[in-house]
Symmetry: C2
Subunit: 178 residues, 2 copies
DNA sequence: TAAATAATAATAAACATTTAGTATTCAAGT
DNA sequence: ACTTGAATACTAAATGTTTATTATTATTTA
């Protein structure tokens, strides 16, 4: 997720240093849910540099200290768009941060593709829910399922419902904007 | 979380190999939400062994293949109990798996301590919620918050509410069992 | 103006997870 | 008896994240 975040911010705001990326995350409020540590950003930048998804743009010197400014490459933009769609597809139940990241950068993707990806996510969530229900039923025929396990399941079901509703709402909004 | 899971299973079911831990997770349905990869289990066992939280119990030989069976130590049980309480304290908003793990092994903790830990979690979630609202308000005075960011916030608020209700329900159940 | 504090910029090392396997044993069918 | 596929048991290497820390520069405050 750090990758998508870093690529997205570089794509949206232009060349930046790792430190500036941290600040952008704070001002865009993404730090409230992404919990990306500074070291992860610097690590991601180095990795992305190796893979040629970003390049070192400038090395700003301030006295004895240097600041590395990276910019996203064409290859990086393509990778970003690929990851962005994938983030819309991934189940947001239990792990919602990929979807939040995707939403943050939604302007960078085609509306129809987003709708398709959200539909994929919907199906994945429904499948997870079904599989859980099947597993639960099988289990309940062998033995009585303890209360604590039931509570976990019910919480996950509630989250599934909530996220399915969230997806439906997003789809509605997106369809208005076509 | 893998650590708590491995320690908990070894504590609950006695000495096991990494492979048996995988199977236990399947039969206990924890694989439905924990998504712990086999390699993570073996890694955790080695690490826990180094730290003396588990010890190699037996090396079962079947022909040319050997199976390492680990058992939890006294030190390990203490560490487990510590981690268990910590798992009840951690916010289950955005990352609910720690709480699910804690619930799975709740019999191993003292009810009063669980209640206290859940109260801590409640306060943490309320704090997160508040901080988000403050950040949002500050931001909205400078500029109009885009719709997608609003959707993320609203989804998190909804999750906060849901988890606070979940915690309240758990507390009710626990109080009945005192 | 000197000292203290905060902000800036980044790194190393420890720690954890994931991907993608390998190799053995067992069971079932032919 | 032989092959084939599933189950068993684990590992290496790549990848990703976190913790703790360092060092410099800028800003306050005494």
């Amino acid at each position: 997720m750090t990758r998508v975040m870093v690529l997205g911010l570089l794509s949206q705001y232009g060349p930046m240093s790792g430190y500036e990326i941290q600040q952008k995350m704070q001002s865009a409020q993404t730090d409230k849910w992404a919990y990306v540590q500074p070291a992860s950003i610097y690590h991601a930048l180095k990795k992305l540099d190796k893979e040629q998804f970003v390049i070192l743009d400038t090395l700003e010197q301030t006295g004895n200290r240097s600041k590395a400014i990276y910019s996203i490459t064409e290859k990086g933009k393509m990778e970003f768009e690929r990851l962005l769609i994938k983030s819309f597809e991934k189940s947001s139940v239990i792990f919602p941060t990929a979807l939040y990241t995707a939403l943050t950068f939604m302007e960078n993707a085609n509306t129809k593709e987003i709708l398709k990806a959200l539909d994929t996510q919907k199906q994945i969530i429904e499948k997870i829910c079904e599989d859980m229900k099947i597993g639960q039923e099988e289990k309940s025929q062998i033995m009585e399922i303890p209360q604590n396990v039931m509570m976990i399941f019910n919480n996950i079901y509630a989250q599934c419902e909530m996220q399915l509703k969230f997806i439906a709402d997003m789809k509605k909004e997106l369809k208005l904007n076509i």
